[in-house]
């Protein structure tokens, strides 16, 4: 896999973790929340969302549990674990460094 893909993947992970900061959500809820928070700019494809969810569950950042959705359907809810919280803090810090750096480069005159 190329570095670019890694970067994007890492970013998606960060965004997913962020949506879960406010509480457990199911898959569609995460994609909906992402759209809302980004003002419909970020529409994560399901083909990326679910594998990413699975990956970070495997890493132990989120835990998944079956429950009942607000719509009254059986749904798999993802919740942030303590490890996930620490990971989010670390990745957010990294992102800030990265974004600032990119910004500096782009704004340089």
């Amino acid at each position: 896999m190329s570095d670019r893909a890694d970067l994007l993947q890492g970013t998606l992970d960060l965004l997913i973790l962020k949506t879960l900061l406010f509480g457990p959500l199911h898959g569609w809820g995460i994609s909906k929340r992402l759209r809302q928070l980004s003002g419909d700019v970020l529409d994560v494809g399901q083909g990326s969302l679910y594998p990413a969810l699975y990956r970070i569950e495997e890493r132990g950042w989120v835990s998944a549990e079956w429950g009942t959705s607000p719509e009254g359907r059986r749904a798999k809810f993802y919740a942030l674990t303590a490890l996930g919280r620490r990971q989010f803090a670390a990745e957010r810090a990294e992102w800030r460094v990265f974004a600032t750096a990119v910004d500096q480069v782009l704004e340089a005159t």
């Binding site: 399901q46 719509e71 798999k76």
Partner: protein, 886 residues
């Protein structure tokens, strides 16, 4: 990120657990993923309908399009779970099944051959497992021994009362020891008495084996004392049949020999034999202090005390033998006879080990031939597929991937073969139990988990062997003949050489089987021509046992027989009736007696000779048709004051070769104080030690001492069921308290004696036929292939003037060269392996040149037929057409 080692380890552990869970719960996880995706699409659709005002149907369609193909995501999802290889395996297997289906002829024949090979092997393994591997059904069976008297490496016999009492008094060696004496006696539980095998046992016998009663109790030491109230233990089957249940039997009285025995206990359900002694009725054996060393009829079983080795037990018993020898020296002079412990397991299995060894060897050869056969088929298939595999390589398949494909394919093949083989094995094992030779414990054989594991292991090994060459050839082939190999259908020299080796090997393996079957067949034929010494066709036999209650003395038994013989002789068609204590052709040593020649006694301290020693009425000789050769038969005056015997011609030739036997004197049974026994006549031989045995026999007149159990022989012109029933009814009418067996025609008894070689011959014959058939198919296949591959060459030769005969000769010569090569190697193997069979043969040596020549000729004849068919096809090649297809 720099993680601590512990953290990393924890993470790794979690991942491994995760992957394992993913693998184990694969189906459940797939379902969950599908459900999760479905929910996503549903919610998206509802959202679209709500926010964009779409119709539900339109919203669903859009949601689905946005999500894309569900299968694809599931696939990716699974990839994320690290399950790729499982799917690959499944797809390899699917591919293998597809590939095998494309060649149904090859697949079916391979599976059938493997199923037969693996099935037969599994069946025999089931037998070997039960007979040789499985433990006896007693706790710590390694501590159990049977104790024999033994005076030479191959000569051992049962104990006497004197021996048993001596062993019981030796407390250092055994934690428990006891004896059992078998006999047939009239038993009446509820109803008429019936002759049954009974086994009188001491309490120590049950203690040694660790047997417990299912109801009531077994004997204890107080029951062993002479004069203790007579008690009996019954099998569950007998108790249930006679009294309805085990509990109901307790306290009842069973009549044995007309004497009452109180039932104190019932054995557990299913226990029909103990230490290989089969009986339903187990009265207490109360060994009284004997007056002499013999007779020897007690099967003694001991449990070695904790920490006592078999060697130590052997030393203790040898010392014990030396201590008791002087006590009985007057009547028993064989100082070489030692009490000897033999592992109970080994003593039960006995000759069974060699029989099972022969079967295992035979079936192993069949399996090897089957594998060679399929391997050779696989080879042809592999050469035919070289182009396909080359193409795959060009298209980017790695070599590892191709190896995996080929290995999966041969494993699928052998596993299907093994599955079919297990079915064959189940059938084969029942066949083995039904028609196989008698082997102790074989009846208990089942195809259990161990046998299944064996079948799977055999299949794995077969799969590897069968698939080895195609895989190896991948590495040899290289890229040279990648996309080209159309013309070299024969597959090059190397493949041809390997294939020829397989064909020759099949013949080499088949020959020992044929030789074994041939030797057993010769044995069987020779045995069938052995004269038992009487004409069995119109001779009927049945057993009579008189209860000791009404027949306490000789006069009573003699009077019974006078009345019985008169009644039987009055039946129309009956030519005569007689009694004997011995059964021919195999009395199984029941009437064996030792003796010493007065004019030529054995050296002091050495064993006396023994001989079958039937006690017969004078009519016996006429009824059986045994000719008087010299001297006289018995007379009414022979009542024991001056004991007389009539000997067989074989006995006379054995002890007085070229001399007169009549008038010689013997000391019978080691009784030095008894009057000498005089030989008064010599008669023709009758077999009592089996058809293979000698014709030695010494007959005593019944008038010197009557026995309450006897074999009755009736010469009759008719042997219909009606006649047999009449004979039994007439005997029954003499005294209802006598117990009678079902009458049988002697032809059956004689036939029974050749059962063992017949059964073994049948099985080895089956194996040999299968082996020969497979080898023939193998050579036929190879030559057919050669002919097809060399069509053009043959066409050219014929166009250039080769006649059909020359072509046939060329092909046949080539095939026969391999067959002959195989047969040559096979002869060497057969000669080396024939010794295994030696113990089973009669009238033929294990390396009998005539038999070996015959089976070699048979093998080559079959090979010739198998070669001739493809050769014929070669000769029919039309030169013009063959060359045109070039």
């Amino acid at each position: 990120m720099r993680d601590s080692l512990a953290l990393r380890a924890r993470r790794l552990a979690r991942r491994v657990a995760w992957r394992l869970r993913a693998l184990v719960r694969r189906d459940a996880l797939d379902r969950e993923v599908r459900e999760e995706f479905q929910l996503h699409v549903d919610l998206e659709a509802e959202d679209l309908a709500r926010t964009r005002g779409m119709t539900p149907a339109e919203a669903r369609r859009r949601a689905r399009v946005a999500f894309g193909g569900m299968d694809r995501f599931e696939e990716e999802h699974r990839d994320a779970r690290g399950m790729r290889w499982v799917d690959d395996l499944a797809s390899d297997a699917r591919y293998a099944v597809r590939a095998l289906r494309r060649t149904p002829g090859f697949t079916l024949s391979s599976i059938v051959i493997l199923a037969l090979g693996i099935g037969a092997t599994t069946a025999v393994f089931g037998g070997v497992n039960a007979v040789l591997i499985a433990r006896l059904p007693y706790a710590h069976d390694e501590q159990l021994v049977r104790i024999y008297e033994q005076d030479a490496p191959t000569r051992r016999w049962s104990l006497s009362i004197a021996d048993l009492l001596a062993v019981e008094s030796d407390h250092h060696t055994f934690s428990a020891v006891g004896g059992v004496r078998r006999r047939v006696a009239p038993v009446a539980a509820a109803g008429d008495p019936q002759s049954r095998p009974i086994a009188a046992a001491t309490s120590g016998f049950f203690r040694a084996l660790g047997t417990r009663a299912a109801a009531g109790r077994l004997m204890d030491a107080s029951d062993d004392r002479v004069g203790a109230p007579p008690v009996v233990v019954l099998s569950d089957a007998f108790a249930t049949q006679a009294y309805g249940s085990a509990a109901a039997a307790l306290g009842r009285s069973v009549l044995i020999d007309g004497h009452g025995f109180t039932v104190i206990g019932v054995l557990p359900v299913g226990v029909q034999q103990l230490a290989a002694v089969r009986a339903d009725v187990w009265p207490a054996l109360q060994p009284a202090q004997p007056s002499r060393r013999g007779p020897f009829g007690i099967l003694a079983v001991g449990r070695l005390a904790d920490g006592v080795s078999a060697d130590a037990a052997q030393r203790n018993l040898a010392a014990l033998s030396a201590r008791i020898f002087p006590i009985w020296q007057a009547g028993f002079q064989d100082s070489a006879a030692k009490l000897t412990p033999v592992s109970l397991r080994r003593s039960i299995i006995g000759d069974g080990a060699s029989t099972m060894g022969i079967l295992a060897g035979g079936v192993g050869l069949v399996l090897l031939i089957a594998i060679a056969n399929v391997a050779s088929l696989m080879l042809v298939r592999a050469t035919g597929r070289r182009r396909e595999l080359s193409l795959r390589t060009v298209l980017g398949a790695t070599r590892a991937r191709l190896v995996r494909l080929l290995v999966t394919e041969s494993l699928v093949l052998t596993m299907v073969g093994a599955a079919a083989g297990v079915v064959v094995g189940v059938a084969g094992l029942s066949l083995l139990r039904a028609v196989g030779p008698y082997v102790p414990r074989l009846a208990e054989a089942r195809l259990d988990g161990r046998a299944m594991a064996f079948a799977v292991a055999v299949a794995m090994v077969s799969g590897i062997v069968v698939g080895a060459y195609p895989v190896l050839s991948l590495f040899h082939a290289g890229q040279a003949d990648a996309a080209g190999g159309g013309r070299t259908v024969g597959g090059g020299r190397r493949v041809h050489a390997v294939r020829s080796a397989f064909v020759a090997a099949q013949f080499a393996l088949a020959l020992p089987l044929l030789a074994g079957a041939g030797l057993l067949m010769t044995t069987f034929l020779r045995l069938q021509h052995v004269d038992p010494g009487f004409e069995p066709d119109h001779l009927v036999t049945l057993d009579v046992a008189l209860p000791s209650a009404g027949y306490a003395n000789d006069a009573a038994i003699a009077s019974y027989w006078r009345r019985a013989s008169a009644r039987i002789s009055a039946i129309p068609g009956v030519g005569g009736a007689a009694i004997s204590t011995a059964m021919s052709p195999n009395d199984e040593g029941n009437n064996e007696n030792n003796f010493d020649l007065v004019d030529r006694p054995v050296d002091a301290g050495t064993a006396q000779p023994t001989s079958p020693w039937p006690s017969v009425t004078n009519e016996y000789f006429a009824t059986m048709g045994v000719r008087l050769i010299e001297g006289r038969l018995f007379e009414p005056t022979d009542t024991g004051a001056a004991p007389v015997v009539v000997v067989s011609r074989a006995w006379a030739d054995h002890y007085y070769p070229g001399q007169d036997a009549v008038g010689r004197q013997l000391i019978s049974g080691g009784c030095t104080s008894c009057p000498h026994t005089t030989v008064v006549g010599v008669v023709a031989d009758v077999k009592y030690s089996g058809l293979r045995g000698s014709g030695d026999a010494v007959y005593s007149p019944a008038t010197e001492g009557w026995f309450r159990t006897m074999h009755v022989f009736v010469r009759t012109s008719a042997t219909s069921d009606g006649q047999l029933r009449t004979i039994r009814d007439e005997l029954q009418a003499v005294d209802r308290s006598a117990s009678l067996s079902t009458p049988a025609v002697m032809t059956e008894t004689v036939y029974e004696d050749v059962a063992q070689p017949r059964h073994l011959m049948t099985l080895l014959g089956l194996f040999a036929a299968a082996a020969l058939g497979l080898a023939a198919v193998g050579i036929f296949g190879m030559l057919s292939y050669t002919v097809a591959a060399r069509r053009q060459e043959i066409g050219v030769r014929m166009a250039l003037g080769a006649r059909a005969g020359m072509v046939v000769g060329m092909i046949v010569r080539r095939g026969m060269a391999y067959a002959a090569m195989g047969a040559g190697v096979g002869l060497v193997v057969a000669a080396a392996g024939a010794r295994l069979l030696a113990g089973q043969l009669y009238g033929v040596t294990a390396a009998d040149p005539a038999t070996l020549a015959e089976v070699t000729a048979l093998l080559l004849a079959v090979a010739l037929a198998a070669c001739w068919l493809p050769a014929r096809r070669a000769a029919q090649v039309d030169p013009a057409r063959a060359i045109r297809t070039e």
